[in-house]
Symmetry: C2
Subunit: 327 residues, 2 copies
DNA sequence: CTGTTAGCGCGTTCAC
DNA sequence: GTGAACGCGCTAACAG
């Protein structure tokens, strides 16, 4: 069913139908009502594809997340898409996958769909493959990178200063008497590297020993296992910072299992202020990366950039410590 | 940039460009290479909108979830979209919102985008508004309802028999000596109603008292609060089934806080076998609704239905109990 | 093997 | 106020 079918039934021309569909003024009320009625009777819905073709505007913005099962990222995508929908934009959310090639592939897919803007959520997009894909296929449309940065003239960014966040955590632990502060990190992402860097700087400043243990899995089990390795290597550890809350949840479980007191023997600080940190037992203290603020900024830049193709902004938000039962 | 621009630069016609773009056979290798080169040099990407317009096929399938922040639902969406992408389909995931009107609105949006198929995830889509919207705007394309049912000739369904699952839970608790088995549920969804019904049947069969307490929030706090109310009303409770894991996580926390022993004093069973149930402390026993199996079936039906517009199937999978530390 | 023509569903002039 | 004609970017059918 097309506007021609509607036109025929209503005894008017297609352009008249198009006019009522787009609320154009200067149409006889009777004609308009008649057309509206036929449209309704036939459950007609306009083809956005055809419409986009002539308008050169799809009204869609693409949101890429490397793994939609990641609570933290999906939460960001949620907030952005909700804002977008209120402003008449239809956001299409896609799971871009782990590999850099796959991620680059998805920016190409969204380019083919001619989205009006692109949002990248998560520092793992920060790689040459994605940067190239954007430079090649999305050089004309606004791109907002949440939690990462590209050296491209039209790519805005919104990042949490994770280096600062980790330094704050060390500082807090130190000022409360901890002297053997360890850091357990998960994946090798730009975001995690900044956390490690912050940890190292803060440790060095205070002449503390550096205990860095990588976790092999991004899960509670991974956190437990890494914590076990940490204690085997450095039994004197009296505080642990985890690069992500879920690791801390697993870690605290392991520590309690082997009879350690939290925070008596060992203090724990996670990262992200995620739901996990709130429901864990004991409740996990955490570095709040201000996801809500991040997303709000992201959305605001997005709106400005869609209106003004030349608008670019780089925003940094400062994390803060949320103290609960593990410190 | 269009295929005409490419054609001009390559000194061929647009249809030749179209042919190489679509890997059509019977083209001179030199011509093909030349065209390919120009395409590459200009970072040209085909407009899927235009392509879809003539092919009457967008290669997109819409996935609707009422709240993408819901772990359980997003996990289902993830599995389906991964399968889809492997088969050349581009899935567009949308957050349909809580209200029935909003949900119906989204099926209309996806209809306008002319998706090749629609997947609904979550029993909350089971309402007159959505059913009507589908009947009106999506009567010609395959729809798969995961965890719900519509009395529409072209809508397939894949559901977990949650009534059975809850009955099994009661049965297990009973056979282990529990006689005051309570049920704490969250929202008033079709899915939850089935769980309640299962609980009631199983309770009645055994002449047990019926303790049903609604939680006001779908969170750990809600679970704790509901558990508190339950004990105030029925201090003799010796087992609790929660309609969703997160409630059980909050409940267990509360019970430990007031000095109850788990499972000594009270046994706990959650629902969904979610990550929450695994990381909670103590680890929560749960009714596994077989999300993976559900999604796999959903995807398989989807594929068949896309190929054969008349294909419809209704599948039921049986939940099973996963016993951990709270029983 | 390649070019020409027509048409997908819609919005937009420009006449009337 | 309304209609005819054209074009958006692409593919298909038909020639050649």
């Amino acid at each position: 069913m097309t506007i021609y079918d509607i036109a025929k039934e209503a005894g008017v021309s297609a352009s008249t139908v198009s006019r009522v569909l787009n609320n154009r003024p200067g149409i006889n009320k009777e004609t308009r009502d008649k057309v509206l009625q036929i449209i309704d009777e036939n459950n007609f819905s306009v083809s956005e594809a055809a419409r986009g073709l002539v308008n050169k505007n799809t009204n869609m913005v693409g949101i890429l997340v490397s793994d939609i099962r990641n609570q933290h990222h999906i939460e960001g995508a949620y907030m952005i898409s909700q804002h977008l929908i209120e402003h008449g934009y239809c956001s299409i959310l896609m799971n871009a996958g782990e590999s850099n090639e796959s991620k680059a592939q998805y920016v190409k897919i969204l380019a083919s769909r001619r989205v009006n803007a692109l949002v990248l959520i998560g520092s793992t997009f920060q790689c040459a493959e994605v940067e190239n894909a954007i430079a090649m296929f999305m050089s004309k449309i606004p791109v907002i990178f949440q939690n990462g940065y590209f050296d491209l003239p039209h790519v805005s960014s919104v990042v949490a200063d994770e280096l600062f966040g980790t330094m704050e955590a060390v500082s807090y632990l130190y000022s409360h008497g901890r002297r053997k502060i360890a850091f357990i990190n998960n994946n090798d992402t730009p975001s995690n590297n900044k956390k490690i860097k912050g940890y190292k700087i803060a440790i060095e400043e205070r002449n503390l020993p550096e205990y860095i243990i990588p976790s092999c899995a991004d899960s509670a089990e991974g956190g437990a296992e890494a914590t076990e390795r940490l204690l085997a290597e450095h039994p004197d550890t009296d505080a642990i910072i985890y690069s992500v809350d879920i690791l801390g949840v697993g870690g605290s479980r392991y520590l309690l299992d082997i009879g350690k007191k939290i925070p008596g023997d060992i203090a724990l600080i996670g990262t992200d202020n995620s739901p996990y940190s709130k429901i864990s037992n004991p409740r996990l203290s955490t570095i709040d990366n201000k996801l809500g603020e991040l997303s709000k900024n992201c959305y605001e830049i997005l709106m400005k950039a869609i209106k003004d193709r030349n608008y670019v902004e780089h925003k940094v938000v400062l994390p803060s410590l949320v103290l609960r039962e593990t410190t």
